[in-house]
């Protein structure tokens, strides 16, 4: 399995599409920082404002990259029959399966962390953090996002082993992005709960804000990004459980798959 993991990582390093999509989704939030922060708000765009207004968007853009990553890592080898050859050369199905799943999850989580944290770091360096949003609470929220992302990755992996086509999976990524876009709207009743990975991300990226104002519309904001113990626990438990179930179901399917 070690060799399969190594070969997957090597293959990934050389995969141009993954790099293009990765850099693309790094550029999008950067352009927002430049356009909104520099051109529109003339530098008055502290990170607290960026996260309160655009938090969900920053977290759902990387999802499209994750589906691309899963598509390339888990489906690519079905297209050129590499998986079949691995089995023919004596690798067990579990090795072939987990040899893809493990690096995929690890790389996915690392890339998500980079894609989400770089814009925050850059904006903070350019425009400051702001005085009203607790850094610790935001760090906790964004750290916890690893769990729903793990769950979404596992779901994508499950879908990948059934679909076996990277392009369909990438299209599924765009559907997920669209769902993410509307998940915070009134269309979803369950928009802030761990029922779906998306709604869990929504819960973590959206925090309570309050505004007061003066006669001349001078706004004063209050942010409360604290999480309850229940929210933290449900995020971790539900995500790990759902992720594990999807990995298991994916293995069950792959274990007896015909692999034509």
């Amino acid at each position: 399995m070690k060799n399969i993991i190594k070969s997957q990582l090597y293959q990934l390093r050389k995969e141009r599409l993954v790099w293009i999509v990765f850099i693309g989704f790094l550029i999008i939030p950067m352009s927002n920082i430049f356009l909104e922060g520099e051109m529109v708000l003339m530098g008055d765009y502290p990170t607290q404002v960026m996260l309160s207004e655009m938090g969900m968007l920053f977290t759902i853009f990387p999802l499209m990259f994750l589906f691309t990553l899963v598509g390339i890592m888990c489906c690519g080898d079905f297209m050129d029959k590499t998986s079949n050859y691995e089995l023919m050369t004596g690798h067990k199905r579990a090795e072939v399966y987990f040899g893809r799943v493990i690096p995929c999850i690890i790389v996915g989580l690392i890339c998500f962390t980079v894609l989400v944290s770089v814009p925050i770091i850059v904006n903070t360096a350019m425009h400051g953090w702001g005085t009203k949003l607790d850094v610790g609470e935001i760090v906790l929220r964004y750290t916890l996002m690893i769990f729903p992302i793990f769950r979404i990755l596992c779901t994508a992996i499950f879908a990948a082993f059934i679909i076996k086509n990277p392009y369909i999976l990438m299209a599924l990524g765009y559907v997920t992005f669209a769902i993410g876009g509307i998940s915070g709207s009134g269309m979803f009743e369950e928009r802030m709960s761990p029922v779906l990975g998306m709604t869990n991300l929504n819960m973590l990226s959206t925090f309570e804000s309050w505004a007061t104002y003066g006669i001349e519309d001078d706004m004063n904001y209050i942010y409360d990004a604290s999480l309850t113990a229940g929210q933290i626990a449900s995020t971790i438990i539900v995500s790990l459980a759902a992720g594990a179930v999807f990995i298991y179901l994916g293995y069950v399917f792959f274990h007896t798959d015909d692999l034509n």
Binding site: I162, E190, V195, W210, G214, I215, D218, N220, F253, D258
Partner: protein
């Protein structure tokens, strides 16, 4: 049952039936792809659950949607068929559970109250000014919300809770606006064919009287001495509508109080009155129906402004023109950009026209003005105020670190922030400006009255003062509706709260001419249908 839930149950049952037959077919036509079909019910369940929200009564159906996954894990006909049957049974079993459960898809009114209460406790800016006792309010209202059974009772509980603050900016707007009539019918009580008003000398007069009461000798203007064995104003205290109506100023409350009395009583009510010959008499009046319509009509007659559109001009006589202002709003573009020059130019054009025609008075009719933007207030004040800079109000000083308005520890008063001014242009300097108000002239209408009242050529006239609520509004969206309250602080020149009443229940907004509600007023309003307030206002400036 909810359509989404019916759809969910129907789809899941159909899926279970399909999967049952698929189990047999999959044995004959071998493919590992069939197993994917066994996760379809779980997917349907997930999608509909997210769209419509979880419901505990549907738990059997949720479990039923997960069970076919066994057919995904085990490629076995017997297991798949059993899972499909169990899935179908559990899914169908959810139907009686939903129908028998009173709490099925019910709004959690108690949670709504707790959320609204906690939000207000955190952000209500007048809590100290009004000496709000949060703990006793919570103890009093939590049981009331626990006893709530439907949207109507919930709305009534909210109205009563909001009324406790005597702040026109504390309110609850239910999502279901169709319940308004049902709520009014319930709180206003029974109709006995008449409404009551308090005359300025303290006597209570019958108004808006049903023709059938003529046989008892009761007509518009008849003095009512007793209502159901008690003083009519004491009877008003028993009215649910009265306790659900929070006046921001005690004088305004006194003006309207008698109206609420006339809905109290049982199947009949004994009314004491003075007949035409001056003798005290009694009559037993039977209940005719619900009082809500009559009470609303009475309040409408008392409050009625000039009947025309918002920001429309009406010529009252050859010397007087009236600008009807129903809200401090113009159009959505101006609201978005903050540029109200189009509105301002429109008003100035008419003002110039009336000046050229030698008009002497302009009436700004703010009766029932629901408020709006301070920019609109400034535009109107600029046109009619004397030239030069005039004080508007002072913003409270905001503490970024603490996330609240700063108070001076020594004095306990709010710390003053930015002072706001407007520049008068004196475009009606040759004539007089009359501002007509009533207890529903609220928020930005309160502002305009307050900032213009001191000017030499301005006279504020009303039966009552304006509402007396002037702070900025914030709110929270609850499951059953929207809850709003004062959250943005405004202070006056002395650093005291701008306009809003404190624990003394007396607002800081007053009027120059208080028109008396006497017999003549009652006849003019309720018999002749005249705009008595306008007549008196014009007499006052003559």
């Amino acid at each position: 049952m909810n359509y989404f839930d019916i759809l969910f149950i129907a789809l899941n049952t159909a899926a279970a039936a399909g999967l049952y037959f698929l189990a047999g077919y999959a044995v004959r036509v071998l493919s590992c792809k069939w197993r994917v079909c066994y996760i379809i019910p779980a997917l349907i369940c997930l999608v509909l659950m997210v769209l419509k929200g979880r419901e505990i009564s549907l738990l059997p159906a949720y479990i039923g949607a997960l069970i076919p996954i066994a057919g995904f894990i085990k490629d076995n006909e017997k297991i798949r068929k059993s899972a499909s049957i169990i899935s179908a049974v559990l899914t169908v079993a959810a139907v009686p559970v939903c129908l028998l459960n009173d709490g099925y898809r019910a709004i959690d009114y108690v949670k709504d109250f707790k959320d609204g209460f906690n939000c207000m406790k955190k952000h209500y800016v007048l809590a100290e000014h009004k000496n709000v006792d949060w703990d006793s309010l919570y103890d009093e209202y939590l049981p009331q919300f626990k006893a709530v059974d439907d949207d109507v009772e919930n709305y009534i509980a909210w109205l009563k809770f909001c009324a406790e603050f005597h702040d026109g900016h504390v309110g609850f707007a239910p999502d279901d606006t169709d319940i308004e009539d049902a709520v009014n019918e319930r709180v206003f009580g029974n109709d006995y064919g008449l409404s009551l008003v308090t005359l300025s000398d303290g006597r209570i007069a019958a108004v808006n009287v049903d023709e059938t009461l003529a046989e008892y000798g009761i007509s518009t203007g008849t003095i009512i001495t007793e209502w159901d064995g008690t003083d009519p104003l004491e009877a008003a205290e028993k009215s649910e509508a009265f306790s659900a109506k929070g006046f921001a100023d005690r004088d305004n409350e006194a003006f309207y109080k008698a109206v609420f009395a006339a809905g109290t009583g049982g199947d009949s009510v004994t009314v004491g009155f003075i007949d035409e010959s001056g003798n005290e008499k009694e009559a037993v009046l039977p209940k005719l129906g619900f009082y809500a319509d009559r009470a609303e009509k009475t309040i409408e007659i008392l409050n009625g402004g000039v009947e025309t559109g918002h920001l429309m001009w009406v010529e009252i006589n050859e010397k007087t023109a009236c600008l009807r202002i129903k809200a401090m709003m113009f159009d959505s573009d101006s609201d978005k950009t903050g540029d109200f020059s189009k509105m301002k130019n429109g008003i100035i054009e008419k003002v110039d026209e009336y000046r050229a025609e030698n008009f002497e008075n302009i009436v700004l009719d703010l009766r029932d003005n629901v408020g709006g933007s301070s920019d609109v207030v400034k535009v109107i004040a600029e046109i009619f105020s004397p030239e030069g800079e005039h004080y508007y109000a002072t913003d409270g000083k905001w503490d970024d670190e603490a996330g609240c308005y700063l108070t001076d520890k020594a004095t306990g008063k709010f710390v003053e922030g930015k002072e706001n001014f407007y520049t008068g242009e004196n475009l009606w300097g040759h004539g007089k400006v009359i501002i007509l108000v009533n207890a529903n002239s609220v928020s930005a209408a309160d502002h305009l009255t307050m900032i213009m009242r001191g000017h030499e050529n301005v006279t504020v006239v009303g039966f009552t003062e304006p509402n007396g609520s002037a702070q900025g509004i914030g709110g929270i969206e609850l499951e059953s509706g929207q809850f709003i309250f004062s959250n943005a602080l405004l202070l006056d020149e002395n650093g005291d709260v701008f306009i809003d009443s404190g624990a003394n229940y007396e607002s800081g907004n007053d009027i120059d001419v208080r028109v008396l509600l006497d017999e003549a007023a009652v006849t003019a309003l309720f018999v002749n249908g005249e705009d008595y307030l306008m007549q008196k206002a014009l007499e006052a400036v003559e």
